[in-house]
Amino acid sequence: MNNQRAECCLPEQVRKTSIDKTLGNLIPASILNYLIALAAIFSLNFILPRLMPGDPLHAIYGDEALVAMTDEMEAELIRQFSLDKSWWDQLLAYVLGLLRGDLGFSYYYHEQVSQVIMGALPWTLLLTGLALILATAIGLVLGIESGFRRGSTLDRSLVAGLMFLGGFPDFFIGILLLLIFAVSLDVLPISGASTPYAGYTGLTYIFDILRHLALPLASMILVQLGSIFLLTRNTILTIREESFILTARAKGCSEHQIKYAHAGRNSLLPLTTATGMRIPNLITGALFIEIVFSYPGVGSLLNIAISARDYPLIQGILLIVTLTVLSANFLVDLLYTRLDPRVRHAH
């Protein structure tokens, strides 16, 4: 797996050997963290329902579900979870189920939890991914420009405005955009990811999806922009008087090159680290935004699961979101070594 990943990122032989070494050093530490985090979630999902007083089946499925359950279903579930056996057997049954990709059965949707979540996950990933890329791009450009023009009107108004914006909770920014553009002005759709039963195809379908994506995406970008901007600006402020900038200027590099190729590339590094740390927040933020706009992603699913007390679904969502967060973190770690030649050649 190690080699495969290195191959797909880096075709050149020279780089490959160096990144292989880096990965060797990088993977044990971070993978161990990820494993601990995952183990924590697994045990939480396993232990919590079994710690509850009374019948664990009640706890796993919730009282509401059991009302609808027949005796045979109950017997079948008890057998499936090995609830009549020792804790050790229960753990074994649980782990084996997970390995088969079995996250349990959602009684609310009458479907496997894994399938319910997989239906919603692409929408969340689309929203989060696009928001992350766009917010980083916009924040980076604004931060660089503002940092090089420190004290100017542009700089001051950007700092004040974005800090003010950053104070708002993400779901309220979403609500405000919803109220302005969808309720008052009525120019953008109020909910969903596409117009139902419209039967659009091709370009009209894509346009329809983009129209529905616009507001949730804009709110997510607005929420993130502040911290990206401030971080970039602060990095620029600390490096803009360093000697390599002076050298670049002396060499006759254009101002644009200095800003983006020299200062910009360096400010990407702390930004990447910060992005890695922000990923859990980013994804939970997306869940809130989805609820505001009834966007059919994992967030809306979570909302339904909470109000229907569909415990297996909540557990499944927790597991899948954790997996998503950890793999995104892993990608950020990889990206960091790609961005910073010093890390790549350090080992």
Partner: protein, 283 residues
Amino acid sequence: MHTDPLGEISRDPLAKIGLFMLVIITLLAICAPLLSNYSPHDYTGKIFSPPDMDHLLGTDSMGQDIWARLLYAARTSLLVAGAVALISSTLSVVIGATAALAGGIYERFCMRVVDAMTSLPTIIVMILVAAYLRPSLLLLILLISAFSWPGGARIIRSQVLSLKERVHISAARTFGAGKKYIIFTHIVPELSPIISALMMQDARRAVFMEAGLAFLGVSDPMVISWGKMMHQALAFTYLDVWQWWLVPTGLALSATLISISFLSFSLETAIDPRMKKENARSG
């Protein structure tokens, strides 16, 4: 770090605005019974009535006075903020400082736990635990604290690690100062500005988390909360009622968050000498 962060921030306009807003919100919360004619749990019988002199912000879908609920919800937010800030920063300091001072396997273990916890989507973990244990205000406070300390512990540890190596501490050690003496007379006072910055961050996160969880439908059924009000109000965006139900509630929550962020931003700037120099230069 021989500076005076408190004196520093008292001259910062950002901190003044933040403090002013926070004081106003606190006063409103404390004087809630004096400022509204209704109890937040009263049913007035009129639903969705627009704002008038009797109901400053009208009534909601249950016929309850929105203004009264808004005021009482501030109490919940501030209570959660204060309690979480205390519990969580205490945990951060105890775990971070002991890890740095003890070292060895204990330190490695603590830092692994911190790393693992910071990479979890904590809100969903809280939802799951709260859903199983039936949410109450105390449980929410404990839960939010239990998931807020790791970031702070990491900062405290790195601070203590660097403090431990300072000249004046090794000088004190040379003069025969005991571990306890060094911790309480040299390390803790130096940490206090950082601890207060941590408490600000914890308080802000707590207000946000409480509102967010309530917005998702995870809250103590007896407690009035801005998040819960927004959750209820969001279902009625097709009526005009959002103008005096949804928007004021969101603004109240945002004002609380913004006031705390201003204070904490200004405090952090005062603590970080590099940022301070930058600020001084820009005049």
